[in-house]
Symmetry: none
Subunit: 222 residues, 2 copies
């Protein structure tokens, strides 16, 4: 496989990872079978143009033929658009929430919902267009911070009562109400993620219960 080819394939792979899409999820969106995506990413197959374009489109990438002379300038332009997002307040909010979650996970390391939440947020961070979703991100972060406060208060109370905390299954360590809130948060994040990954025919972003409706989305599995 030529260098240029490898470079393109790597870019595709990176883009998929940045969006937090699994090969299967990407497959569903593109119509390109998952097994192909696997081969493409690993096996150095000489992919056909239609497949490449399908994959690129779904990853919000455009395949362009630019004069070599302009290649450097183009790279510069591309670089200048991507990290612009990183400086925006939306990402700051996102990072803040991510910190909160990491903090929570330190206290509740076995809570799978927290891990899921962290992963979803991380995936969200990889999306280019997340920068415009400040409000949505605040709506996500606020309840999570509230949740953290509630849990801290709870921990304080429990400390007084000195219960047998280790024996109880970890999921039971926090009241059902908070657990539900947590799951709702995961759902909201993944919902937003799906919205941003690209316009998919699904219900708008207002929080929905945590149960599944379909399995088209990326990673929005239980």
């Amino acid at each position: 496989m030529s260098y240029a080819t490898q470079e393109l394939i790597d870019a595709l792979k990176a883009a998929r990872a940045a969006k937090g899409l699994s090969q299967r999820a990407l497959s569903k969106r593109t119509g390109v079978p998952q097994s192909h995506i696997s081969k493409i990413e690993t096996g150095g197959v000489d992919i056909r143009l239609s497949s490449l374009i399908e994959l690129a489109r779904t990853l919000d990438l455009d395949l362009k033929l630019v004069p070599c002379k302009a290649a450097a300038a183009v790279d510069s332009v591309v670089r200048s658009t991507a990290p612009a997002v990183a400086a925006m307040p939306a990402v700051k909010e996102l990072n803040r929430t991510l910190d909160t979650v990491r903090n929570l996970r330190y206290v509740y390391p076995d809570l799978s919902e927290l891990k899921k939440l962290q992963n979803s947020l991380q995936a969200l961070k990889g999306l280019r267009n997340v920068g415009r979703e400040l409000e949505a991100l605040r709506d996500i972060g606020r309840p999570i911070r509230k949740l953290k406060q509630a849990l801290e208060k709870l921990a304080g109370e429990r400390q007084g009562r000195a219960e047998q905390q280790k024996a109880t299954p970890y999921a039971a360590r926090i009241p059902a109400e908070q657990l539900l809130a947590l799951r709702r948060a995961v759902g909201t994040v993944q919902n937003l993620h799906n919205q941003l990954v690209d316009t998919i025919p699904e219900q708008p972003l207002p929080p929905r219960p945590a149960y599944r409706l379909d399995d088209d989305g990326a990673n929005d599995d239980g």
Copy 2:
């Protein structure tokens, strides 16, 4: 074939045409068989990435994967590099010569050498790096303008003599000397073209007779 695919193929085709390369010439340079190039350009075949990259490379194009968001900016950059050439004095000289030739063709519409010359000049215009060849272009334009003057003088003389101009074959309407000069001009232009298309292992540009030496070059046929 998808729209995006078609667009890329068209771009390739245009790039080839702009370089004045025949399918066969491109084939020689890329290793991609001419029959494929034909199929690619016409038959809507789902070309493989390696072929696409080979063709692109030879046409001085880079295949880039850019975020859709940055696509417009990239287009702008590409546009801004290409026509920069169009404003340069070298291109002005080229256009001047082209005008002269068009003018001549109006008077001698059947003279195949003139058509060839015009085509060669047009192909030259499509080359990115022609902008640096002001002197060479002047060397081309000067004899052509001189040729035109000579022919105009000749036409004036003939008008007086009132010969049967229509009956004589068109090639005979101008004296052998001028015809030779014309052919020399064609050769010079195509020579320069070959030089610029990209560095190919051939003799340098000093004017050579119009006969063929090999068939590797683009269009440097008789």
